[in-house]
Symmetry: C2
Subunit: 202 residues, 2 copies
């Protein structure tokens, strides 16, 4: 993706992306025009092309930015060797990271169909590399007998789907806090992959 | 919702709904015009209003139809008294039912934001009554010591989210068949809600 010079160096670029994110999440990519995005930012439609070559590039930048942030945040957390501790870390990280970014999560799922084939392939690759991290934790746990998982790849996708669910219904101020929700999900994930007789940890 | 007379009695009504479903799933509700739907069906835009008062009614009919079908199909399956057997029945039913309706599932999640407040409330109510069925199974299992679930409502939503994940990635002809995917998910659901020492069944 060619980037127009200067898109990183001033404050309008980020404002364009924020406006696009908000509008795509509210109305859907296909229903939003470049003119509308320009209106949100407060620039002429023509000026928008100083920041992005087209609407597809904006969508791709948003989705790639989200995946890059996810992978960078994940890489910044110390990954314990112990598979059970690593799985707990992944579970809690996933819920917290996504809870803070509802619009990005929503468009990342919903607008995959609107990516060009080459852009889709790149986003899918990033997504897979994230899933692979969880799969690797599960495989390590299976190898030492801590987990009983017949298909680590399927289990990884099932766990991520379960954790993604939180984003669709959780609202602050309800009966349960996010840390409580996190704990309840960790209990289920831990049990879902557990070996019949858990090994001693500690 | 007022229905225009005759929308059930001929074949154009269903064709209008099919076209709307396909177009909404492909482009998103906000991006699709009544004119486009009429074009797909092969009628004049004005004729569409013989079948539906407006685009919002079409969306609502599709989402309500999907939930009505779900609840009717569920009601038609014999629900075993044993909570473990009931949970297995729910899990397998959910995966199979939704696998057959990818477009309906997609718009039911994605287009909630485009429902009018009163329509949203009705769809949410139907959705809740489905979740309540799973929650009731979990509570019955907890009551007899078969399940260990601290928050049956949260667990119900987590299980449904996990099962919904299948729809986002499963394709026929891959390494694993749908019955295999069903079995793997049932194994995880069963373990996720299991009591520390499973009671004897049988």
């Amino acid at each position: 993706m060619a980037r127009t010079q200067g898109s990183h160096s001033d404050i309008t670029g980020p404002r364009v992306r924020e406006a696009a994110l908000r509008l795509f999440a509210t109305h859907g990519y296909a229903a939003v025009s470049m003119r509308q995005i320009a209106g949100e930012v407060g620039v002429q439609a023509g000026a928008l092309y100083n920041y992005t070559p087209d609407k597809q590039s904006l969508l791709f930048d948003l989705m790639k930015g989200h995946m890059d942030d996810l992978l960078a945040a994940r890489a910044a957390e110390p990954g314990p060797d112990d598979p059970l501790a690593a799985l707990e870390g992944f579970t809690r990280f996933h819920i917290r990271f996504h809870h803070d970014r509802p619009d990005e999560v929503f468009i990342s799922y919903m607008e995959l169909r609107n990516l060009s084939p080459e852009n889709f392939k790149e986003i899918e690759g990033l997504r897979r590399s994230y899933e692979d991290q969880l799969e690797a934790i599960l495989r390590r746990g299976v190898a030492i007998g801590a987990f009983d998982v017949a298909e680590p790849k399927i289990a990884a996708m099932a766990v991520i789907a379960m954790l993604n669910g939180v984003n669709t219904w959780f609202r602050e101020g309800g009966r349960l806090s996010l840390p409580q929700i996190e704990q309840l999900h960790w209990d289920m994930v831990r049990k879902a992959v557990s070996a019949p007789e858990p090994p001693n940890h500690g």
